[in-house]
Every structure is written in structure tokens, then in C-alpha cells.
């Protein structure tokens, strides 16, 4: 029983962090139908930046996201204006090519500037745990989870309670309708891309504490995030949350009761099963274009 509770708690904690990492990807896809393959590279970029800030100043890595989040917002905005906007209206495969290329550029630059070695930020609490009865909750995971939930909550609030958020959602649901009532497509898209990039500010800082990383780590992360987003439904924030929780639980439960070797497989089997029954993913909205 303790084993089960422990596995579920750990799965949910890590799922929360996955959800935050996937939220930017799903938001960007929702608004622009752009699959940002560079999202994983953004995460590693932030992790590297966070590590450097932590290493130089001793600032808490998760708190460092106060600095990295606005930076990534600006970075995302510039990237959108300079690169992504050029392929608006092209097919989705163009965005995959472009952002994959950009991911390789980031990896290459990190290789040259930061060097090709593993790093990990190790604040004092990185390997301590809270004990609740028989259950142990690793502090780093708990802080990461709380930060992730705070950001996801804020994101949800912005999307549902502010005019900016409504504009973004309008552009997601019906781009031409939104344009008709005066929602500027380019501005909204740039904003959504910037917000999507900004989520990696916190995501990357948590990554730097939880896992050792090096420039090529982004391949692992983007494949995991794409899995989550596809399972949850592309473009859906609650979907990302559900997909991430399922991935987290699949990992820990399979590892506890089966073998670690199966945990990745189990997650993809769940994806396949869901896609057979609901091709749009758990929370994905069926668009008119999909039916054609």
C-alpha cells in the first residue's frame, strides 16, 4: 500500500512538471498550428542559463526563473518576429523543419559556448525529502511541482479571464472569425509564441535541478513533450495536464510494479489506445478542418 501511494505521489509530482513543460508547446500549436520542435532546446537553454546564474551568484535555481521567464518571453517574441512569422500560412511540416533547425542551432551554440558536458544545479535541498508518514516527498520535486502549478494556474487565468487570453483562445478556435471581429492575427500569434516560450523559463529552471543535462538533452525532452501533447489533445491546456499526469504515473507505476524497461512503452501504448478511440486526443477539440 505504501508502495502504491509512494508511486502515485511521485508520478503526480513529476507529472506536474511535465505539464508545465508541455504547456508552452500545446499553446503555440493551438494558436498557430506550429509544432515548435525547438521547445526542448529552449528548456535546455534556460537550464544552462539557470545553472550559470546559480553557479555564479548562488541564487536559488527555481527562483532564478524570475529572471529567465521575462528573458524567454522576449526571446520568443523576437524569434517569432524574425523567423516563425516568415512561414505563416505554409504547411505545418515547414514549421517542423524550421524549428528543428533552430533547435540544432541552439544545441550547437550551447556546445561551443558552454561546452559539451553534463551539468546540474545542486541547491542545498536537491537531495532532501519531506517525510509524510511512510511516504517521502523529494523537496526538489515538490518545489518544482509547486512552481509548475503556480505558472499553469497563472496561464489558465490569463487565458480565461483576460481579454488578451480571450483573443488568444479566439484565434485558436476560429482564426478567421477572430480576425473578422478585430483580433490581430500576427500580434496574437507573436504573443502566444512569446508566452509559450516564457513557460520554459520556469520549466527549464526546474529541469536544471531535477536532472543532469547537456546540450543534446533536448531530443529526450521534445519527444516526451510531443507524446504528452498528442495524448492530451494538441492545443489543449487541460489536455497537457492530463497527458503529463498519465506519463508521470505510467513511469512510476510501471517501474514499481513491472520493470523500468516497460515504462516508456506503457506510455506509448496508452497514447495509441487513446488515439484509436479519440484521434483528437483526450481533450482535443475536433476542428472542422479535421473532418474534411
Amino acid at each position: 500500500m505504501t508502495h502504491l501511494v509512494q508511486a502515485i505521489t511521485l508520478g503526480l509530482l513529476i507529472g506536474g512538471v511535465y505539464a508545465l513543460m508541455a504547456s508552452g508547446l500545446t499553446l503555440i500549436f493551438g494558436v498557430m498550428r506550429i509544432i515548435n520542435i525547438a521547445q526542448g532546446a529552449f528548456l535546455v537553454l534556460v537550464a544552462m542559463l539557470t545553472w550559470w546564474l546559480w553557479h555564479e551568484t548562488g541564487i536559488d535555481p527555481i527562483l532564478a526563473s524570475v529572471v529567465t521567464t521575462p528573458l524567454m518571453f522576449g526571446f520568443g517574441w523576437v524569434v517569432y518576429r524574425l523567423m516563425i512569422s516568415r512561414i505563416r500560412g505554409s504547411s505545418a511540416s515547414m514549421s517542423v523543419l524550421l524549428t528543428f533547425g533552430f533547435a540544432l542551432v541552439i544545441e550547437g551554440v550551447l556546445n561551443v559556448v558552454a561546452g559539451n558536458k553534463f551539468r546540474s544545479a545542486t541547491p542545498s535541498y536537491f537531495e532532501e525529502s519531506f517525510r509524510v508518514g511512510e511516504i517521502s516527498l523529494p523537496k526538489a520535486q515538490v518545489f518544482g511541482f509547486l512552481a509548475a502549478m503556480a505558472v499553469l494556474g497563472a496561464l489558465y487565468f490569463v487565458l480565461t479571464r483576460t481579454w488578451t487570453g480571450r483573443a488568444i483562445r479566439a484565434a485558436t478556435q476560429n482564426p478567421s472569425g477572430a480576425a473578422l471581429v478585430g483580433v490581430g492575427a500576427t500580434g496574437t500569434a507573436a504573443l502566444a509564441f512569446a508566452i509559450g516560450s516564457a513557460t520554459t523559463g520556469v520549466g527549464g529552471s526546474i529541469l536544471s535541478v531535477l536532472y543532469p543535462f547537456f546540450p543534446a538533452s533536448h531530443y529526450d525532452w521534445i519527444s516526451r513533450l510531443l507524446g504528452i501533447v498528442v495524448l492530451g489533445g494538441m492545443g489543449s491546456l487541460p489536455g497537457a495536464l492530463a497527458g503529463a499526469a498519465i506519463l508521470g504515473l505510467a513511469e512510476t507505476l510501471t517501474a514499481t510494479y513491472g520493470s523500468l524497461g516497460w515504462s516508456t512503452l506503457v506510455f506509448y501504448v496508452v497514447i495509441m489506445a487513446v488515439l484509436l478511440i479519440r484521434p483528437q486526443g483526450l481533450f482535443g477539440a475536433k476542428l472542422r478542418e479535421d473532418a474534411v
Binding site: I14, N116, S120, F126, S259
Partner: protein, 430 residues
């Protein structure tokens, strides 16, 4: 660290550089086309073996062709290997070269990709007509690359590719320039366990391992040998390379309380498991990890310097070892790169030493003579003496290393140990 890279596993290597694969195919197509043209026209020196050409131009430098993973998953060890080769080149050239000829390296980047490495070596042999070859990094890449060399009758001394399947093909030109292959790397650790009084030996053991051609055979063979000694196995599992969360494994381990945890760890997984064990506050009496702890600075940064105390691993090379030329190698490396040399660089250096020794002994770069000489003789390298079975499998033994007070000491075998003191049992986490 030797292990670290093949380590990154086939899954990773398969998935990551997918884009480069396309380029790889292109290269290969080009190479195949070139070969086809040569065959068709039966012209020129295209089909000549490098050694045949080399005889005529003794004044020219000896060109050594190498393809290395300088980008992609194995970029880190690949870059270290490049440094090892370059330190060797500079040392050899400063002493007048090989057979009176200066040495030139021709290094290409295979992007950690199997297709590209094949194209690279094909091009080095058939187009660039290099005089000698040296191997690339990881079993994953050396496996296909050595087949190209074998087909072309070129000696292939490789610094890092100890997976057992490398030596199951009956190759005659392949030589692995490390003291032992994966299944024999832990032998020196077993010897240490055997040296303990019966009562002090571990009673129970757990063997988590990454599904990796280099890490897994080490703990698999250790498990067999320890079971024969009567150590009870309480846990054994295999996890894929992309596993990042080790809390579940750690909590299972904590509940089984093994005396010994022996992990087939590449790098991230080694750090991940230690962190998770620390979070659960379970510290085994003996902790052995295959290659993660050999990444000196990165390992101690990852788990915290205090937590390294007492961790065992086996390794092919140590900075302090009193092997011939080792001090010169360390000094040369530090001077060139203002950093401490990594094991991967030392392995590459040793591979080059092997080739150099053979060429100098036979007095030419005739590939068949070099091959025959290597099969019959022992070469002194910075890793210690190396000799080979007919399959290219080495016959030596690894060093048993242990983290002590934030530094790495060699604790076995006794004749090369840097200290007599062994930390046992491992203290609890700090």
C-alpha cells in the same frame, strides 16, 4: 567513461541524430558511386591499398584517417578522443615522427551516426587514401566502421568499443586498445570482494542497469560471479536509456536493503539513482557504478562532493598510474587544453600508441605486417601492457578505483594501487 558513450544507448543514438542520417545516406550514396566508377573503369590508384602507394613517397607525412563523433550524442567523449589523438600526434612529431615521417591526422565528424561513420571511413580509405586508420568512439560506431576497415584490409585499432559482439565476427584487422571488454571489467572488483574475510562480504546485492551494450554486460557478469560466491540477488532490473526518474527504483531498493548496489550506469542514470537513494536516505554498504563515477568533476557536481565517498568503479586508465609515457601524456594534455585529461582521451592516446609501436617494430606501414605483429606481441601503453586474442579482444584487466575524500584513488589490483586504504563500508549520505 569508456562506457559512457556506447552507453548513451542504441535508442538514443537511433532517435537523436535522425536528420544527420539523411546526410549520411547521401554520403554513402556518393561513396558507393565513387567505388562503382573505380570498379567500372579499372583505372588509377583507386583500388590500390594505401600501403602500396605509401612505399613510393617516404618523404611525405604519414596520414592517419579517423572519423569521430564530434557532434551529436557522443560529442563529449568524441571530442576527448580527438584531443587524445592530437596530444599523441604532437608528441610523436616532436620526437621526429614515425619511421622518420611526420604524422598528420585527418579527422572527420560522423555526427554520432552509424551511416555517416561508414561513409567517412570508406572515403578516408578509397578517396583520401590515408596511410593508417584509428578507430572511432563507442561500440555503436566502431561496429560498422571496423567492418569497412576489415573489408579494405586496413588495421583498425579502436579506443572505445568493448561490446562482446564486436569480437564475434572473426575479424583479423581489429584491435581493441583497452585492457578488457565489458564482461571482464568487473573482474577486479570481484577479486577485491574475494579478498575480504567471508564475514565481511556482502550478503545481498541489487543490480539495476541501463540497457546498454557497455554497462549491462559488466553488472550481468558481476551478478553471475557474485552468485557463485553465495551473494544473494535481491533485485535486478534493466531500464532504457531515456529513463530519468529513479525514485521508484530507489524506493524498491530501500525496501529490499541490499548490502551491495551494483549499477550499470552510464552517467545521468548514475547521478539520478544516487540522488534518489539520498532522498530516501538509503545508503548501501557498498556502491559500485560502472562508468558514471569516472566523469570526475561532473559526477561530484551532480551528486555533491561529500556523497562520492566510497563509491567504486572500474576504469581503464588513471592519471596517477606509473605506466610509460603517462606523465608526459598528462602534461601534454594539460598544456594543450588547460584541463585535466579524461579517460576517453587516454584511451585514444593508447590506441595511437599501439599503432605507432607496431609500425615502428615492423619498419613499415604494411597493414598485414602490422596486423601480424600485433597478434604476436604485447604493447606497452599508458593503460598498461596490451595484448590481444585472435579476435581483437584484449587480454588485460581494468583498474578498481574508489572515490576517497573527493579524489579518485586506485585500490586494485594491488601492484598498481595508489593507496592501500579502502573505504569499506561506505559512509552514509552527507
Amino acid at each position: 567513461m569508456t562506457a559512457s558513450s556506447p552507453g548513451q544507448s542504441e535508442i538514443l543514438a537511433e532517435s537523436a541524430p535522425r536528420v544527420t542520417r539523411r546526410r549520411g545516406r547521401g554520403w554513402r550514396t556518393a561513396a558507393v558511386a565513387v567505388v562503382a566508377v573505380c570498379a567500372a573503369t579499372a583505372l588509377s590508384a583507386c583500388g590500390q591499398r594505401p600501403s602500396e602507394i605509401a612505399k613510393s613517397d617516404t618523404g611525405k607525412p604519414i596520414v592517419v584517417g579517423i572519423s569521430l563523433p564530434l557532434t551529436g550524442d557522443f560529442a563529449q567523449p568524441g571530442t576527448e578522443a580527438k584531443r587524445g589523438y592530437e596530444v599523441w600526434r604532437d608528441m610523436v612529431n616532436a620526437k621526429g615522427g614515425i619511421l622518420g615521417r611526420q604524422v598528420q591526422l585527418k579527422i572527420t565528424d560522423d555526427a554520432s551516426n552509424q551511416d555517416t561513420v561508414v561513409a567517412d571511413y570508406t572515403k578516408l580509405i578509397t578517396q583520401d587514401k590515408v596511410d593508417l586508420l584509428l578507430g572511432t568512439f563507442s561500440s555503436l560506431l566502431n561496429y560498422p566502421a571496423s567492418a569497412v576497415a576489415e573489408k579494405n584490409g586496413m588495421v583498425f585499432v579502436e579506443p572505445a568499443g568493448g561490446a562482446p559482439k564486436m569480437f564475434e565476427r572473426g575479424f583479423k584487422y581489429l584491435f581493441f586498445a583497452q585492457p578488457a571488454t565489458a564482461p571482464h571489467q568487473a573482474d577486479v572488483f570481484i577479486d577485491w570482494i574475494k579478498s575480504l574475510p567471508e564475514a565481511d562480504r556482502p550478503k545481498t546485492a541489487a543490480y539495476p542497469s541501463q540497457d546498454d551494450p557497455f554497462a549491462h554486460p559488466v553488472v550481468e557478469s558481476m551478478q553471475k560471479q557474485l552468485e557463485a560466491l553465495g551473494v544473494q540477488t535481491v533485485y535486478s532490473s534493466l531500464y532504457p536509456a531515456d529513463t530519468t526518474n529513479f525514485q521508484s527504483v530507489a524506493s524498491t531498493l530501500a525496501s529490499k536493503k541490499p548490502d551491495l548496489i551494483a549499477q550499470g550506469a552510464v552517467f545521468e542514470d548514475g547521478v539520478g539513482l544516487v540522488r534518489a537513494l539520498k532522498q530516501l536516505d538509503y545508503s548501501p554498504k557498498i556502491l559500485f557504478q560502472t562508468s558514471a563515477p569516472s566523469n570526475a568533476g561532473q559526477y561530484s557536481d551532480g551528486i555533491g562532493p561529500a556523497n562520492t565517498e566510497g563509491v567504486f568503479y572500474t576504469v581503464s586508465w588513471n592519471e596517477k598510474a606509473s605506466t610509460p609515457l603517462n606523465a608526459e601524456f598528462v602534461a601534454g594534455y594539460k598544456k594543450a587544453y588547460s584541463a585535466d585529461p579524461a579517460e576517453d582521451a587516454a584511451d585514444a592516446f593508447a590506441a595511437a600508441q599501439v599503432l605507432q609501436a607496431a609500425a615502428e617494430k615492423v619498419g613499415s606501414i604494411d597493414q598485414d605486417k602490422i596486423r601480424d605483429w600485433l597478434h604476436a606481441n604485447t604493447v606497452d601503453t599508458i593503460l598498461g601492457p596490451l595484448s590481444w586474442e585472435a579476435t581483437g579482444e584484449p587480454k588485460g584487466r581494468f583498474l578498481l578505483a574508489q572515490w576517497q575524500s573527493g579524489k579518485v584513488e586506485v585500490v586494485g589490483p594491488a601492484d598498481v594501487a595508489t593507496t592501500k586504504n579502502v573505504v569499506n563500508p561506505k559512509p552514509g549520505w552527507k
